[in-house]
């Protein structure tokens, strides 16, 4: 199976007093972007380090790009890995350019490529300054540049957008999309990444070392069956309730009026979306209609609270 980039089989990691990761089976295909979500201590870092071969699984087997990442030959094919650790401050007294040149040489690439990547992450103006003068965002961009060195086939990024401004974040996602279409498997790891929804194929939610959910966002949404949020302007509550008999399942209702217009906000089951649109769109007084699908954050909260309730 050549297109499986990462394969974990019943992988478990425990330390003397903590279970960092409960038995976990998962795989990531080439050209797939997996979003890995969970709060601090959920086991994200442990999972990434297991895949990279920094940690040895207590039980089970890990395969990255078709090899065991802790085998003796492993360091030879690490040229195809790209990794951004969560907290890396690099060599403070070296300039950004020197840091990247050094890392590029270690990965077997030339300085031209390093310089091009500096350009790509917009660090060229600051490239010859010492890293200790860099802001958090600049360090982050330097970290991304080293992860992108040499067209990686497996990219593992821990909190990649922390400290990045909106433009840099956009550029970052463009690069990820480009690498993905080139067949690179990407694991993006985060508490919750704003704007990440459109760039991931599947999401995995971890908590306390357990996998709570794994699948495409659409599937997770369906399984969670979270309500959608409908905002309507220009109609009274009575009007709406009259039009949408039986479609409003949730009792929460918010009503406000501003600038002489009425605003209503209520929740409904996701499958009623089209019916609601159909029934309300024909209303003459309707000024505005907005339907918000459950966000990644809502999903994340849902799965976490599900898990916590089960634990209680």
């Amino acid at each position: 199976m050549n297109d499986i980039a990462v394969d974990l089989n019943e992988v478990c990691k425990y330390y003397p007093n903590v279970n960092a990761l409960h038995p976990l089976t998962m795989s990531v295909k080439s050209g797939e972007v997996l979003g890995l979500f969970g709060h601090n201590g959920a086991g994200k870092s442990t999972l990434m380090k297991l895949i990279l071969g920094i940690l040895k699984p207590s039980t089970g087997s890990v395969s990255a790009l078709g090899h065991c990442p802790r085998s003796n030959q492993a360091h030879n094919y690490r040229t195809q890995f790209g990794y951004l650790p969560e907290n890396v401050s690099f060599y403070e007294h070296l300039s950004g350019r020197e840091v990247l040149h050094y890392l590029a040489k270690l990965k077997g690439h030339n300085k031209t490529q390093a310089d091009r990547l500096l350009e790509e992450v917009n660090l060229t103006p600051a490239a010859d300054r010492a890293v200790k003068t860099y802001s958090k965002g600049m360090r982050q961009r330097l970290g991304l540049a080293q992860a992108f060195l040499g067209a990686p086939r497996l990219l593992i990024l821990d909190e990649p957008t922390v400290g990045l401004d909106p433009v840099a974040t956009q550029d970052f996602y463009l690069t990820v999309d480009r690498l993905k279409s080139g067949g690179c498997a990407v694991i993006l790891c985060s508490h919750v990444l704003p704007g990440v929804e459109h760039h991931i194929d599947r999401a995995m939610i971890l908590s306390q070392g357990r996998k709570l959910a794994l699948g495409p966002l659409a599937e997770l949404r369906e399984a969670a069956n979270l309500p959608i949020e409908v905002s309507v302007s220009g109609l009274t509550r009575a009007d709406i309730e009259d039009k949408l008999k039986g479609l409003i399942t949730e009792p929460d209702w918010l009503q406000s009026s501003a600038h002489g217009a009425l605003h209503n906000r209520f929740n409904s089951a996701a499958e009623n979306k089209l019916d609601i649109l159909r029934n309300l769109a024909t209303e003459e007084n309707l000024q505005d209609l907005h339907i918000k699908l459950p966000s990644l954050e809502d999903l994340y909260r849902h799965y976490l609270s599900d898990f916590n309730n089960a634990a209680v």
Binding site: Y15, A20, S45, T46, K49, L52, G53, I54, L55, K56, H75, N76, Y77, R78, T79, F81, Y83, P85, N87, V88, S89, F90, Y91, E92, H93, Y102, L103, K105, L106, K107, G108, Q146
Partner: protein
């Protein structure tokens, strides 16, 4: 092999840039010139006295200073990278633990070696130019001294790596490095003397020379005395004469003192898991 050189080059450049190399060189120059010209001031004489006494005093000073310098240069080597997160990153790079370790060692050993060559070589040349001495014997003796001084530095760099790889905080590494220095340089000889005196010579005579080789600073001292043929100065070290059969043998002991700590560091490095 290539990877080792890349790491070594970086370490070496770091050493030049943060002025370690320059500082060590200047210390060595001051020590050598000071001892050469003012070493016999207590005897009421100023100026270059003798090659023998200069090197013996120099050796006594180096036994204290070179281990300290080497430990201070190297204690930070791994724990520093651990703290700034780059060690974690390097471990995901196409670079084996052995390559990283040997690369760092090569780079830092080169710093100590360059400092010895300049710091003891320049004074030797100055002595030859300024004083009326046998140029050949001064140059030969100093060259041998440079080799031994570098070797002593290498030993303590390797020992510092064991510390640097084992701990997870810089401050702890610094503390341990100082303790190691204190043990090897001050405590060991005192304890050995105490044992010899307390046992009133009843201790197995063939065992004593081997006890001395437990301490690389003693091996260094014996080697210096051997090369300059200064038996009269050796004092406590005379007890080693029975077993000291040849410079080559002692030299190998020194090399072993480089290789063993390095192997030990490598073993710990491989066992270590970077959990955070």
């Amino acid at each position: 092999m290539n990877k080792i050189l890349i790491v070594a080059q970086k370490e070496f450049r770091d050493g030049i840039r943060n002025r370690w190399t320059g500082a060590i060189t200047i210390i060595f120059i001051l020590m050598s010139l000071g001892l050469a010209y003012f070493g016999s001031a207590t005897a009421g004489v100023l100026g270059f006295s003798s090659l023998e006494s200069t090197l013996v005093s120099l050796a006594s000073l180096c036994v204290m200073l070179i281990p300290l310098i080497a430990l201070m240069l190297a204690y930070n080597c791994f724990v520093g990278e651990l703290e700034q997160g780059t060690l974690l990153l390097l471990m995901t790079y196409p670079l084996s633990n052995a390559q990283l370790l040997l690369g760092k060692f090569t780079g830092q050993a080169a710093i100590i070696t360059l400092a010895s060559v300049l710091g003891f070589g320049l004074p030797a040349i100055i002595i030859c130019l300024v004083s009326d001495v046998d140029v050949a014997s001064v140059l030969i003796a100093f060259s041998q001294f440079i080799v031994l001084a570098s070797l002593l530095g290498w030993v303590f760099i390797a020992i510092a790596y064991i510390i640097s790889i084992s701990v997870s905080e810089k401050s702890k590494a610094a503390g341990l490095a100082l303790i190691v220095w204190f043990l090897f340089v001050l405590v060991f000889d005192l304890v050995l003397m105490a044992i010899l005196v307390a046992s009133e010579g009843n201790i197995n005579q063939t065992l004593v020379p081997f006890l001395l080789w437990v301490n690389p600073t003693d091996v260094f001292r014996i080697l210096v005395y051997t090369i300059i043929g200064a038996e009269s100065y050796s004092g406590v070290l005379q007890i080693a004469e029975n077993g000291a059969d040849g410079t080559l043998y002692l030299f190998s002991v020194m090399l072993l003192w480089v290789a063993l700590p390095l192997a030990c560091s490598w073993w710990i490095f491989n066992k270590k898991e970077l959990s955070e």
